[in-house]
Symmetry: C2
Subunit: 153 residues, 2 copies
DNA sequence: CTGCCTGCAAACTCTTTGCACGAAT
DNA sequence: ATTCGTGCAAAGAGTTTGCAGGCAG
């Protein structure tokens, strides 16, 4: 799915839900889909304001759940204080995260077996799985050996 | 490991680290190990105060990392606002959590393959895994069919 | 026009911290 | 006698919400 297609899908989603297509919501969408990496609400606010400086923090926080619900964004919680988000256009739904504790980068890796695991384990408990998440926290080998992280921005 | 053994281990850990064995820390330990299920800092405070009413919230928050570091407690972050903790006496280290979205109960299940997965995936990225977590969110079948969750406390 | 959306700022939740007193070693 | 530990309350971070005015449909 291209960004343009995603933008249409977003507008469509808003209309169907009886929500209004506002400049602020579109600015937030555009800012989100211009990000290369995972971003926080605060980072999104900065970028959205660069597009439309009337965007407020409150609207960012109010729009993030809408975009998550419409499956255009994925919420990634790595157990830090802040939540992260990514545009869902590029990745599959069944992904695991590898978080580098040195450079704080989040790598995403397809993990199709996760779904199988979720169903297997849940059914034993009489539950129906809704979502899975698998996260690995790790240290950077290169940093340990050379003192410099090659991925550090 | 029995609770009594764990208590000794805790005292021992404190001494070795040059930390003091105080009544408050012991009360917090006892409260933690009296819990059947996962608990929050706030719940622990209530129970610890029942043992020693001089225990303060601050001390609970200061003691939890110590108990986690000493491997007597495991921290379980299920992406909600509060963190949960469990006495580590009964479970293995490689566990996955299944969280019921209806009754909010946390089930823990041994998942030995997680470690293998972590190393495999990390080494491809030039990283050394530190920890893994696998979580499944699920809905209760019985609740959906009968309207009542059999596990609801 | 109607009512959802918005920005602002205050409120909220969970957790951390500075300080002076108190207790463990 | 020293220090470290403590309770208290305030601060802090991230997020949510009440309100009065604004703009989409």
């Amino acid at each position: 799915m291209t960004t343009t297609e995603a933008r249409e899908k977003f507008k469509c989603f808003l209309s169907k839900k009886g929500l209004r297509v506002t400049n602020q919501r579109l600015a937030i969408f555009d800012a989100a889909f211009a990000q290369i990496e995972h971003f926080t609400a605060e980072q999104l606010l900065v970028h959205a304001r660069a597009i439309d400086d009337s965007v407020s923090r409150a609207t960012v926080y109010r729009t993030l759940p809408i975009m998550t619900e419409s499956a255009l964004l994925r919420e990634v919680d790595i157990g830090q204080s802040e939540k992260f988000y990514v545009a869902a256009s590029t990745n599959a739904t069944q992904v695991a995260q590898v978080v580098c504790l040195d450079c704080n980068k989040i790598f995403e890796i397809s993990a199709p077996f996760m779904e199988w695991y979720g169903s297997t384990v849940s059914s034993k408990l009489g539950l129906t799985p809704v979502s899975q998440r698998l996260q690995v926290s790790a240290h950077c080998n290169v940093l340990r050996q050379t003192g410099v992280c090659p991925r550090k921005t």
